[in-house]
């Protein structure tokens, strides 16, 4: 299982990478894309949208399932990954890199402390899948 250090993780299988003071990039984890299978559509918010923590900010659809995307933190959307419009498979191929989804300006960086570390997420996933 691929879970990079340094990112923060949600129970809904999103990750957030803190880029610079007050900004974070958000995507879904390797585990999440693996469970979904081939991603064929990604619906994302618009730049400028305000998100509350735990808000649904979009959906990701694979051949077999559809899943909501939950915002790890509250804040304003400053960028969305336009490449996913034409190449949704980037979510499968590179979930922590080219397959990122949105960038947000955090309204409260302290919210990050409520998310899981890589290690915590790893044990969360293995508990969830019952191994």
């Amino acid at each position: 299982m691929t879970i990079p250090e340094g990112l923060r993780y949600t129970r809904e299988h999103e990750w957030i990478r803190v880029l610079e003071e007050g900004r974070g990039r958000v995507g879904i984890t390797h585990h999440a894309q693996d469970e979904l299978g081939d991603v064929v559509f990604v619906e994302l918010p618009r730049t400028g949208d305000e998100l509350g923590g735990d808000d649904v900010f979009g959906t990701v659809e694979s051949v077999k399932a559809v899943s909501d995307l939950y915002s790890p933190v509250s804040g304003r959307v400053t960028e969305v990954n336009e490449s996913l419009e034409e190449q949704p498979e980037l979510v499968n191929d590179d979930p922590y890199g080219e397959g990122w989804m949105i960038q947000v300006e955090l309204s409260d960086p302290a919210e990050l402390d409520g998310l899981m570390s890589a290690q915590e997420y790893a044990s969360y996933v293995s508990e969830e899948s019952g191994h």
């Binding site: 299978g37 081939d38 064929v40 559509f41 619906e43 659809e61 051949v63 077999k64 498979e89």
Partner: protein
């Protein structure tokens, strides 16, 4: 849960397994899209051993089966297969099946996994004449090799002349050192073969075909690809598109009904329904934007819930979402606008001609 003889072969090839009709089956290996496209452009190999096989033997086997099914069996030659259905007296479906005419006294019915016991019971209840009816499902593993390169992959594994085996014909012979019934049939809309083989030999045939097909780009393929492939060519799925509440006329399966073959189970009801004209029809639609219509999603016409999606999925060939739904006949025409309610959203859709995909 039931397992096919290829269960361990699937695990070795890193399949993701799911429950399907009480069977633990591979849903995908490398990925549904990759497997789908492999079948459209090269070849894919499916384990369809969950399908049931019912044997009907005896001097009256042909006459009995003719009565119990809606297509005209008398026109079949030995070594010919036919798509047909078992019907209730009401004209609705017990099951859709493929009948293999080995000879007039020996027919083999390939039936849906979910209907196997029901079908066998149904046939036994209506048994007449000198016939023996036997659920032989446990004696067969079934492999489906599908895709334009199927023949070139299979030919080196057998002395049978595959070139002289036309569509919906079958023959008995050895493949990969195993006795097989080899039929030129399938559920994907591509050229291909289905192999019926004893469970003990199944793993060897499976592995030999995959090895032989390696250079051609064969992929082991799972139920996810099987579903998107069959939906693109509008092959119906029992339980989704047809069942005990639907009839051949509204399902668009009039072509497997021969009203002139003489009496058969369900004929009178089908005659009456045809006279009255069916009230609804199974129509194809595509989603005009993003989003995927899923099985059972509500279908709206002019803002009113009208029916449900029978089958809905993504179409890898068309790179859009497609589906089938029963619609009032006057609405089941290309160009009719629909909305599909998928979770909190209404997806705009339009009725289109089917099939959604045609082999080039």
């Amino acid at each position: 849960m039931r397992r096919t003889p290829l269960y361990h072969a699937h695990l070795e090839r890193k399949a993701r397994m799911v429950d399907f009709a009480g069977w633990e089956m591979p849903v995908q290996y490398a990925g549904a899209l990759k497997e789908h496209l492999a079948v459209r452009t090269a070849a894919g190999l499916f384990d369809v051993s969950h399908m049931g096989q019912i044997e009907i033997r005896g001097p009256d086997a042909l006459e009995f089966t003719q009565y119990m099914t809606c297509n005209d069996l008398s026109r079949l030659d030995e070594g010919q297969a036919q798509y047909s259905a078992l019907l209730y007296p009401e004209g609705t479906f017990v099951d859709d099946i493929v009948i293999y005419r080995i000879h007039a006294g020996h027919l083999l019915l390939c039936v849906n996994a979910s209907n196997r016991e029901k079908d066998a019971q149904w046939l036994l209840e209506h048994r007449r004449g000198d016939v023996e009816i036997r659920d032989a499902s446990d004696e067969y593993a079934q492999l489906a090799l599908q895709g334009p390169r199927s023949q070139e992959i299979l030919q080196p594994l057998t002395m049978l002349d595959l070139d002289s085996l036309p569509y919906y014909r079958f023959t008995l012979g050895r493949v990969a050192d195993a006795d097989c019934l080899v039929s030129r049939t399938g559920y994907t809309g591509e050229d291909g073969f289905e192999l019926y083989v004893s469970p003990q030999k199944a793993a060897k045939v499976w592995n030999d075909v995959l090895d032989a097909g390696g250079p051609a780009g064969i992929q082991p393929a799972g139920l996810a690809a099987r579903n998107t492939l069959r939906l693109e060519v509008r092959y119906l799925l029992y339980g989704n598109d047809i069942d005990e509440t639907t009839n051949s006329w509204e399902a668009g399966l009039g072509w497997i009904v021969d009203m002139d073959q003489g009496p058969f189970m369900g004929r009178e009801a089908l005659y009456r329904i045809r006279q009255e004209g069916p009230a609804r029809r199974l129509a194809g639609f595509e989603i005009t934007g993003r989003g995927i219509a899923r099985d059972h999603d509500p279908v709206l016409i002019d803002g009113t819930r009208t029916s449900q999606v029978a089958s809905g999925s993504y179409s890898p060939s068309g790179r859009k979402s497609i589906g089938l739904a029963y619609l009032p006949v006057e609405k089941a025409v290309p160009g009719q606008e629909l909305e599909i309610e998928n979770r909190r959203r209404l997806l705009p859709a339009v009725v289109v001609k089917t099939p959604f995909y045609r082999r080039r």
